[in-house]
Amino acid sequence: MWKALLKKQFLELINVYFPKKKAGKKRSAGAVAGFLILFILIFLSLGGSFYAAATMLASAMLPMGLGWLYFALIGSLSVFLGVFGGVFSTYASLYLAKDNDLLLSLPIPPRRILLVRMTAVYAAGLVYSAVAWLPAVICYLQFDASVPAAVFSLLLTFVNAFLVLVLSCLLGWAVAAVSSRLRRKNIITMILSLGFLAVYFFATSRMNRMLTGLTQNAGKLGEAVRGKLWPLYQLGLAACGKALPMLCWCCLVLALSLLTYWLLSRSFIRLATANRGAKKAVYHAGQSKASGLDAALLRKELRRFLGSPVYMLNCGIGVLMILICAVMLLIKASSIRETLALLLRSAPPLVKSILPAAGVMAACALSGLAPITAPSVSLEGRSLWVLQSLPVPARSVLRAKERLHLLLVVPPIVLCCLALAFVLEADAVSCLLMLVCVTLFSALLADLGLMMNLLKPNFTWTNENVPVKQGLPVVVCIFGGWFLSLLCLGLCALISKALDARLGMAAEAVVLAALLLLLKRWLKTKGCRIFEEL
């Protein structure tokens, strides 16, 4: 039974990243290898930034003999990241899977269903926490390459992921417990998730100050942690290769994991089968309003977006960040100007001239965090037949998905762009070029997401996390967006150096427009054909 359940979970995971396009067609080895290389590259690029932060900490702490504090801090960070990575999905993964009824009807103890689903949460937590932990281990081993330290610190990658599991599951359980009593569970999921996000961004915005503070006050901090946070002290010592602390830490994590499992298994059936929507809404005639085909399709897309906290939070977070960015730019305009003036005092003129383009591309990179179209085809799921059986051209369906993206992303990014132009005191032509670039970039990202999802659709998901959070189109869209914004900035810098910064931005706009036209043409022809044949 265990084997069968784990195999099901494993197949589900495999299908997320390597979905079969159609029954009977094998995945090509080249495609599998390509995806693997892409994931490794993403892992390495994220790991690189954590390696840089770890080096800063290590150079300050290790010479003072505070290796344990170094690991205690990195361990806390990696666990935090692991929990953050799973915060939007644990509730859905544990309690809202579409195979709930099927599995509960089979002779499987519910606690086993829970345990198998927890393995998926563990796997996600392992990946997220390892991104921060492993670079720190590599960094540490350059200072102390002893065998116990190497073995224990690597083993702790897997042990710490259990702590991530514990915290993620408790959070998911809390959301499930509260939302089972509410009619609109979306609200509580949104509030909790946004609250968590706010804490995360507050912490990351102060990361530099925190790191500096930590390196300057490492000795005092070490004393405080040793005295008041005994488990973290044990974790630090364990990672440095001490056997007894390793045993203590493992026992502690194991005990917490078992306790969490026991706690969750007691309420699993009740929460997984909770009847949400206790108060019944009654329909009264006379509420209907007629609208056109395009408006109906757009409204449908908007309803799907607003009706799914998972979709909204994972693909709409970029929109929120752009808005926050725009507001912050306006509020802090004068201090940003002063800081920039100070920083750019001795900078070459080229840097000053491409500042608007750099700002625009930063805003564009932020909009990459709103890959709204990327899971939109997969989200049709088993109800795809509705659109396919209706007299709706495929182009209209795809256009509605694209329009939703533009509707949600373009207004905030234009606002952000105007705020940026205000801060940088850009002239009218530069401001216009900035607006053109961000609008084109947003449209391009919308079409890129659609194209990727048409090429790699997944209709067999058991919960929305699969296409929204873990799907390949989303990954490609986010990182592709970042990559593209860097390329554009590079192009702009080259042309600015040779000619003029405004020409650089104009060239950027031309390239974006050309790419957009190509994508639009593809969607209009091949994209529509693919959608009709899905």
Partner: protein, 234 residues
């Protein structure tokens, strides 16, 4: 109304539908029976324009499904065996979505929703999210959506599964009235008694090939439809 000529559809090496030819006229309720995996759903999905077929031709009211799929879809309604509707919409939002797609005015849709939802006793539940509907309620909502735009041809895959006896009786009455008013219905079923009583014509499919088709009398003669079906299956 519906002309299927030499329809063939394969999945890999398997021929799901093999050289199927059928003609359905206005006013006819045409039953489609066969064992599981015989090719009924594939045929219905091909007619509805959901599946691309390999060869043959399907013509609905003079329009080819291959050449003019949108024109065909304007004239039909399709109800699958397991109607997975939009869980993120309420019942009324779903019906309004369908009405918008078919360009129905607010007055016309209000009147039809009132009529059909009232008949299926679903009016009060229309404000509920589809996610909260039972299988039977989803089936009823799909029926209302199908009748909403007054199609010329209705395709149904196992329409009686999940319906309560009252709704089942109502559906049979609606099917008869629809065809008496000039519409046509092509539906698959495993309930042979229903097919025998309700259908004007019936087709039996086995391993993708049509084995018998015609009026009920032509197909079953003096025997019951069940015994004819079982004989053909052996």
């Amino acid at each position: 109304m519906l002309h299927i000529e030499h329809l063939t559809k394969t999945y890999g090496d398997k021929r799901a539908v093999d050289d199927l030819t059928l003609h359905i006229a206005s006013g006819e309720i045409y039953g489609f029976i066969g064992h599981n995996g015989a090719g009924k759903t594939t045929t219905l999905k091909s007619i509805a324009g959901i599946l691309r077929f390999d060869s043959g031709e399907i013509v609905i009211d003079g329009h080819s499904v291959r050449e003019a799929p949108i024109e065909c879809k304007k004239r039909i309604a399709y109800i699958p065996d397991n109607p997975d509707l939009y869980d993120f919409m309420t019942g009324i939002q779903f019906l309004n979505f369908i009405a918008d797609i078919f360009g129905l005015s607010a007055e016309v849709r209000e009147a039809r929703i009132a009529e059909y939802a009232g008949a299926f006793e679903l009016t009060e539940d229309l404000a509920q999210p589809v996610a909260a509907y039972s299988h039977g309620m989803k089936q009823k909502l799909a029926m209302i959506a199908a009748w909403l735009h007054e199609p010329k041809l209705i395709l149904m895959d196992e329409p009686f599964v999940g319906l309560d006896p009252k709704a089942s009786h109502l559906l049979k009455t609606m099917m008869r009235s629809f065809c008496d008013a000039g519409g046509a219905i092509f539906f698959s079923t495993h309930v042979l008694e229903v097919a025998e009583k309700l259908c004007d014509k019936v087709a039996i499919i086995k391993n993708g090939r049509l084995v018998k088709a015609g009026t009920m009398e032509e197909v079953k003669g003096d025997e019951s439809l069940e015994s004819v079906f079982l004989e053909l299956e052996d």
